[in-house]
């Protein structure tokens, strides 16, 4: 079981590296879909274990929610938004891809040193999973600050959320169900609102380049 979880968490980390290396906005969305699918897989594994141990189906509900929302609905929504607002492919990053990937590696190493420094993680088989997931969170934030377009920032936010959800899942086998459901409601409304805002920004600024939003300073 531990090996299986280790491998999945590693794949999730790899998917966030892939994200940083993506050039097109449509590929961001694809990568996010794959990453969410991996999270759903690990949730399913936890679900099987819980079901065998005490017949609980909480984790299955969450797994279904992840597939419904993060693998199917939200990526489709983002694709639709993209189709409506973007008509030409433009460069979307400040630094070039190899440098971004190298910096992302640096983040993962940094997280390794920080997390292994926490007493409770010494010699426990979840250390690697937690390191991977916290790295995903930070790489998500890093992704957000290195992209100019609004859609890139939304995907970055979703990846941060995936990482945090992953941390909760791998380290504590999920939060209490009611909290998890609350998080999903928040996430869904959040993405819907951000999607709507992208339309409005596109209307007013004729672009979704967020570096054009610079009137309010100080």
């Amino acid at each position: 079981m531990t090996t299986y979880m280790d491998i999945i968490s590693l794949l999730i980390l790899v998917s966030s590296f892939v994200l940083v290396a993506n050039k097109k906005q449509t590929s961001y969305i694809k990568t996010f879909r794959i990453q969410s699918f991996l999270i759903a897989l690990s949730m399913a594994a936890i679900g099987f274990r819980h079901f065998q141990q005490n017949g609980r189906i909480d984790a299955f509900i969450l797994c279904a929610l992840i597939i419904g929302l993060k693998v199917i609905y939200i990526p489709n929504l983002l694709n639709k938004t993209y189709d409506k607002v973007e008509h030409k492919v433009e460069k979307d990053f400040y630094l070039n891809i190899p440098i971004l990937t190298l910096l992302a590696c640096g983040i993962a190493v940094f997280v390794y040193f920080i997390v292994t420094g926490i007493g409770q993680f010494d010699n426990r088989d979840i250390t690697m999973q937690v390191v991977n997931m916290v790295s995903v969170v930070l790489i998500g934030i890093f992704f957000m600050i290195t992209r100019k377009k609004a859609i890139g920032q939304i995907v970055g936010f979703l990846v941060v959320e995936n990482g945090i959800f992953g941390t909760a899942m791998f380290a504590a086998e999920g939060m209490p169900l009611i909290v998890d459901i609350g998080i999903f409601i928040d996430l869904l409304t959040g993405v819907l609102i951000m999607g709507l805002m992208v339309f409005r920004i596109n209307d007013k600024f004729d672009s979704i380049n967020t570096n054009k939003l610079k009137k309010l300073k100080g």
Partner: protein
């Protein structure tokens, strides 16, 4: 049963979806917020009738104690007053063609949703649900910030949702670690993440994990509180939102986020046995926020942004007071929460009237407010004196007490820096804003209050602010000392 106040805004939001007439929308909004206020005040009456005894009320995941009641009362009292002010404000915007009827309805729906998320965040004991509610406050208020749909307001709203969502996500990572720190200590599922159970069992939690959790929660909720350097969304959102919303954001929302930090702060301090680790972090963020605010206030050109920076300053003062962590300083911090909320809401509401009269946000283009608008102008100038820390207003007493408790703890450097910064901010506010009151009113502007019912609200708020500075009734004193006991770790 008393928790019924949570249902009121939900019912209103649903009803408002079906009501089209403006007049009904206004009446419904005001009466519902009045009802909410009365229910929470009756709970407060229960809480203070026990005299010295501490107060607790619990039902499932819902929980209230003296500390949450203080924040809850601020939300509902200001919710009611801001509702009344909004009616006049929206009516005028609607008549001048700035917004249409549909937007008025949207405004009240969102305002009530916003109030609901805030009262929910202070009425639960589960940190996870508190997080969900605080994240929901952002979602409910984003369209209120971008309400006018101009370029600047969209920019402010985008900044607000992106920065706050990511910030709050960090807080969730902290809550995950908080949960991990209780592995093996809290065994029943219904105890998980409850700050009551965490406080009772605080001594057995894993310290290194808890420290990690606190750092994330401080930075995460701190983004929402507006600690420098995470504050960049705050001036943009406060200056672009309609004034009643700015009043709500500054007077109420920041407190709810601060509430989340303080709850965790208590747990960490009990676990570590002292406040050195967490207290120093709070003091650092506090002083840094005050310093950044002081520098920016000196050079500000727009009055609403200036007030927003002043909110950052006051949140810094509260963090500083709580971070010192003596009964006196925590007491002063709580008093500051109350005084700041009412004073700052009053100021933002009066800027609403000024903005509707002069149609500009620039300080340099406004002259002669006192002649043009006797009520709003007078309240604004006195409110500025209050917020800058002039006696006899409450904020002066709070700042004085905070400084005293800092020096009593022999933090001489911190205390001196804070005192100098308070002086700089006082000078900055006087220097920047007082030119607005003198000079000749431009001829194009007719004298008179734009919002009559709003002027009454301003007077009521001013009476509250003045009374809070001059006199503290026994029941308030008991409530505050019980709340400071709660923060000091007594459950």
């Amino acid at each position: 049963m008393k928790f019924i106040y949570l249902a009121v805004p939900v019912v209103i939001v649903i009803l408002l979806l079906f009501i089209k007439k403006r007049k009904f929308i206004y009446e419904l909004g005001i009466s519902a917020s009045l009802l909410e206020m009365l229910i929470t005040l009756s709970i407060t009456a229960d809480a203070v009738s026990g005299g010295q005894a501490s107060f607790k009320m619990s039902l499932g995941i819902f929980y209230l104690d003296s500390f949450s009641i203080i924040v809850l009362d601020i939300i509902t009292i200001l919710g009611f007053l801001i509702h009344i002010f909004s009616v006049g404000y929206m009516e005028r915007d609607c008549k001048s063609g700035k917004i249409d009827e549909k937007q008025v309805r949207l405004f009240f729906i969102l305002l009530n949703a916003f109030i609901f998320t805030m009262i929910l965040s202070v009425s639960v004991k589960n940190m996870g649900i508190m997080w969900v509610a605080i994240e929901a406050t952002t979602l409910a208020s984003v369209f209120l910030v971008g309400f006018y749909n101009k370029r600047e307001s969209l920019e402010a709203a985008w900044k607000y949702i992106i920065i706050c969502s990511v910030g709050i996500a960090m807080a969730f990572l902290g809550i995950v670690f908080l949960h991990l720190s209780s592995t093996g200590v809290l065994t029943h599922e219904h105890q998980f993440l409850n700050f009551t159970d965490l406080t009772v069992n605080a001594a057995n939690l894993d310290s290194s994990m808890l420290k990690f959790a606190f750092m994330f929660i401080l930075v995460g909720f701190g983004t929402k509180v507006g600690f420098a350097p995470l504050h960049t969304w705050l001036p943009a959102a406060h200056s672009q939102a309609p004034s009643p919303v700015s009043a709500m954001l500054s007077g109420v929302l920041l407190n709810s986020a601060m509430y989340g930090i303080i709850r965790t702060f208590t747990i960490v301090n009990i676990n570590l046995g002292n406040s050195v680790f967490a207290g120093r972090l709070m003091i650092f963020f506090g002083i840094f926020s005050i310093a950044i605010a002081a520098i920016v206030i000196l050079t500000q050109r727009e009055y609403k942004s200036l007030l927003a920076y002043s909110s950052i300053e006051h949140m810094g003062i509260i963090a500083l007071a709580v971070g010192i962590f003596t009964p006196a300083s925590v007491f002063a911090g709580l008093m500051h929460i109350i005084n700041h909320s009412f004073t700052k809401s009053m100021l933002f509401l009066s800027t609403g009237s000024i903005l509707q009269k002069y149609h500009t946000a620039k300080i340099s283009r406004i002259k002669g407010i006192l002649k043009t608008m006797p009520v709003s102008g007078t309240v604004f100038i006195l409110g500025l004196l209050a917020i800058a820390g002039t006696p006899p207003f409450g904020i002066f007493a709070c700042e004085w007490n905070v400084l005293l408790s800092i020096f009593n703890e022999h933090h001489f450097v911190t205390g001196s820096i804070a005192a100098v910064l308070f002086a700089v901010i006082f000078a900055g506010i006087v220097h920047c804003l007082f030119s607005m009151f003198y000079g000749e009113t431009p001829e194009t502007i007719e004298p008179g209050e734009p919002n009559k019912s709003g002027a009454v609200v301003l007077i009521v708020l001013f009476v509250i602010v003045l009374a809070a500075g001059l006199y503290m009734p026994d029941f308030l004193f008991n409530l505050l000392s019980n709340a400071s006991d709660v923060i000091m770790g007594e459950i």
